[in-house]
């Protein structure tokens, strides 16, 4: 079974090779007619000069979305083994037990979700 994953490794090696080839090839083949090197290498802006990214203040929503993503991702991670173990629970006659435990889990999370909606956590304004 472990050997089944070797082709993935080979594909990955191919992809690394292709990425390197593309980058090196494009570096050597690219046109070198810089009209004004200075201006070309500045960050893109329509005619103004810009300082690029300024560190510091950015909307906190991006952070909120990322942290909520982690929470719900962990929830989904629990749902996967739950979903796949249904057949074996059914064979043992425990299918209602199987159902109930996830309903409890999701019920507690639903409280959290309702709280988030109530606090306008998903309101991007």
């Amino acid at each position: 079974m472990l050997t089944a994953y070797v082709p993935i490794l080979i594909l990955f090696a191919f992809m690394v090779a292709i990425s390197l080839i593309i980058i090196v090839l494009s570096h050597y083949l690219s046109s070198r007619k810089y009209s004004s090197r200075e201006r070309f290498e500045e960050p893109y802006e329509c005619g103004l000069s810009t300082g690029g990214i300024k560190p510091g203040r950015y909307p906190v929503k991006f952070y909120l979305v990322a942290i909520l993503f982690v929470v719900f991702d962990v929830e989904a991670v629990f749902l996967w083994p739950w979903a796949i173990s249904f057949q074996s629970f059914r064979e043992m006659g425990y299918s209602v037990f199987w159902y109930a435990e996830m309903i409890v889990f999701l019920g507690i999370l639903l409280v959290g979700y309702v709280y988030l909606v109530g606090k306008n956590a998903f309101d991007w304004k």
């Binding site: 079974m1 510091g56 435990e101 991007w124």
Partner: protein, 210 residues
Amino acid sequence: MAISFEIVFFGVFAGIAVILAIMMLSVKSPVHAALCLVGVMIMLAILYLMLHAYFLSVVQIVVYAGAVMVLFLFVIMFFYSPGASDPSRMSVHFTHIAGAIILAVILLAVITGSFLLSGNVSLTEKPSAAQMTDIEKPIAETSEAPLTEETSRMIEKQNPQLVGRMLFTKYLLPFELTSLLLLAAMVGAVVLARRSPPAEAGSAGGDGND
């Protein structure tokens, strides 16, 4: 043949993991350090894979590399523009190396000590049938001592199912408590990030501060 093959692969991936971990501590840019940590997470996933823990391995990537590290990167990128390095990141000093070696020795001592004290009991002895629930029995039966080719194939093929079966029977209470933990995380995130919803004049449209 099979064993040497695995040892070579283990050496390569564990080596990469250690190198990346050291780089994570030593590189100057915080974003590079975070990327090294992502690399460590992926290497750990490959090591799990080599231990035949298939499900755990992909979940490691989904949760740690795919979610937690994205959150880290988000936060780091808000504070460091490209090319900036963190002045508070220390350069590696003799005392740090010495401290690391001492900690490694202590860790090794604790691990070997715990093995010696427990006398390897937990590794070899199976719980008696009376202590097991109905649901655990089939798993215990399949993991009885000499593994035949067929049962080991079955266990490997059924790996996610076995994880699910253990998680939702033996470890049911920790699983249900996790939901409370996640609930706390949701509330915490909102409390931290949404202290005063109306007072956000500076970011009209949600697009930065310019």
